[in-house]
Symmetry: C2
DNA sequence: TTTTGACCGACCGACTGCCTGTCGGTTTAA
DNA sequence: TTAAACCGACAGGCAGTCGGTCGGTCAAAA
């Protein structure tokens, strides 16, 4: 008995299954067979909807980034929230976004997922930096910050945080992590030309989020 | 006619072949068959010397890192060179090191090489940062720099430079690249607490190296 | 209004070719 | 003689292909 569905519905079913399986077993560790069995379709159907396995990964990342950047953008646009607090909220939105993105992130750091990880990193660096830079510019107008290079400045901060705190790039004990947080806030203040201690709220965010 | 060689010699032959092929066709794009044909050995021989394909990548990276960090370390230890110039030289040593590492780097940014790339990134960040931090500490003693967090500071600089300038993480035109260099130097000065303009030499290095 | 049939795209699954890793056996040098 | 370097057939699994099937839709005919 053949079940016919609208292309987009089927596509999403496949992406949902792939999402879960990639998270559990990694990209390389998940075979197209695993996916089509989970969805309950035939090989040909899968390749009717996706050009290749990598095409699926790209579609998946597109879904993530829309959710991720969308919610970040919403918060960034809310000018009623003070600048520093808004930055904190934007960053938080990245890490505990949709229901599943927590789980995704937990598994994305496995070595098998290097390709996927790289692609997500690209989305984050190039997607979040402009959003945060907008807020920074407000902060500059309010004389909270002072830098001739707000974009490059944020790019550096985002890149570093994303590499060192979110990846397994640098192996750290809990203590090392804490001291790195302190250094990070200190360095961010210097980069942004902010008054010393004015970003300490950020510290609390990282602390609570980690639990 | 069977040719028997010392294990280490054979191992290096295999690594040399893998090195070249990975560079040309990427890690995933290179089959073990390609490698053993190039070396002129049988499948069993290859797996006699290496546990798996990933084992080969790890051995390859080990070779790189010994060369890379070794030469960097040598330069860093040479206290007769002024601090700022020594930093420049260490960084240069990374990019135009052995004969082949130029070629390696050219090909390492292909999407197929994500895993290898990630592993190299890890080696660089965790290997170069302590070396450069040593020099920075000298600079602090000489009151060229001033920061309570020299290690984390350099980690940030190294991570950013390696991600944005060496990867294809951020697509850039030549002009964007130049402006990012200026911003980078400016930001590095702020992070290190250096006098404004004191790191401008670094700029020249990046400029000449790019040609 | 109802029926017919052409059409399109969702769907199927056997098949191809390639790939990694294994294993029992063979050769060589010490 | 013995250890280790070497061999190549083989197993199992994988991504992607392809010719063909089936079901929903829509317009024209009854």
């Amino acid at each position: 008995m053949r079940i016919v569905k609208a292309a987009e519905e089927r596509r999403n079913e496949i992406l949902d299954a792939a999402d879960e399986l990639f998270g559990q077993k990694g990209f390389d560790g998940t075979s197209t067979n695993d996916i089509l069995l989970k969805v309950g379709i035939a090989r040909g159907t899968l390749y009717h909807h996706f050009k290749s396995k990598e095409d699926m990964i790209d579609a998946l990342i597109e879904r993530y980034s829309v959710r991720l950047l969308g919610s970040a953008q919403d918060i960034a646009a809310n000018k009623s929230i003070p600048v520093v607090e808004r930055i904190v909220r934007v960053v938080m939105a990245l890490n505990l976004n949709g229901r599943s993105s927590m789980e995704i992130m937990e598994h994305i750091h496995k070595p098998q997922n290097a390709l996927m990880h790289q692609k997500i990193q690209r989305v984050i660096i190039n997607g979040i930096t402009p959003i945060l830079t907008g807020i920074i510019r407000e902060g500059i107008e309010q004389e909270l910050f002072s830098t001739p290079f707000p974009y490059e400045c944020m790019e550096m901060i985002v890149t570093y945080a994303n590499t060192v705190f979110d990846d397994d790039m640098v192996p750290m004990t809990d203590e090392e992590r804490t001291s790195r947080m302190q250094a990070f806030v200190f360095n961010a203040e210097r980069l942004l030309g902010a008054e010393s201690g004015s970003l300490m709220h950020v510290m609390q965010m990282f602390g609570s989020q980690q639990a």
